[in-house]
Amino acid sequence: MKKTTFWGTILLAGCLTLSISSLAWGDSRSDDGGSYGLWSQKETALPVMNKAYQTECSACHFAYPASFLPARSWVKIMGTLENHFGENAELDAAGRQEIEQYLTAQAGDQAPSRFSRSFMRAIDSADTPLRISETAYFQREHRKVPAGLVTGNAKVRSFSNCASCHTGADKGSFNEHGIVIPGHGRWED
């Protein structure tokens, strides 16, 4: 092998090693036994894992991933169920507490997951948003979607109706390859 080829190969290997190893560097806060490391990253938000939440809170609407709101928002929502966005969604005390515990433990500012950091970063610490669809990150991600395809679409009706377009939403998948807008077709960003 020519000398330049030899040294060139060393250089190439070194550059690749350096860049790959940079993946292991990270925020010291995320260094807690590798649960936030690269290989545990998912394309999806954590799917809903609490049966009570799934049963009680998808009777009327999609069971929203807990990581899309901060814990204080979930506390406020669970504390005002008798007037839940205009509806009465009261629960017995045990059920209410179990669901609140699940939501606050998995909230975006408590247990980071695929989109939680972006959601939380876009929420002012003085705010307690109640609607995911009104947060800055959500609105940014949906900025190119014409209102006519959502609020003006009888099959969707609202931006709160995630599962009508996001075909993998119940598994926590919101990526752009799985969007089919009813009456319109696939949506590729």
Binding site: C60, H61, E82, G86, E87, N88, A89, E90, L91, D92, A154, R157, S158
Partner: protein
């Protein structure tokens, strides 16, 4: 031969569900009687079902029928979200009235939302009578 086995199995399941509904309704109505209710009447339940009452926040009159339809065998539709609601009639929907906790939960929510207060034991018993037994066979 297999086909008949399947038919018999399905009939047993249907019968089982029907028995479960009857058991739960009986148990609920027994508890209402203990709370002071008298005879239960499906016709009374039906007239309450359609009784309109002004809902301030919605800005219109609402009744049970508004979302659940006056015809218990048809699919209902939520007045705000448009979400479709499975028929109330146990004959159309085997899950209806098989879970006492679920019955009480929805009574609490929907009486408060529609009428602004909890339903009385008498009213609940009449409603169950209407939903379960519209012809008032008892």
């Amino acid at each position: 031969m297999m086909k008949w086995n399947v038919v018999i199995a399905l009939l047993l399941v249907a019968a089982g569900n029907a028995m479960a509904t009857e058991t739960v309704v009986n148990e609920r109505q027994a508890s209402y009687r203990e709370a002071g209710a008298g005879n239960f009447d499906a016709a009374r339940g039906e007239s309450m079902w359609s009784r309109q009452q002004m809902h301030a926040e919605m800005g219109q009159s609402v009744s049970c029928a508004t979302c659940h339809s006056g015809n218990l065998s048809t699919v209902g539709k939520h007045i705000r979200t448009g979400k479709l609601i499975d028929p109330m009639a146990p004959s159309m929907n085997a899950e209806r009235l098989t879970d006492a906790a679920k019955i009480e939960k929805w009574f609490t929510r929907n009486c408060k939302w529609t009428w602004g207060r909890e339903c009385t034991a008498q009213e609940k018993g009449d409603f169950l009578q209407f939903i379960f037994n519209p012809n008032n066979r008892r």
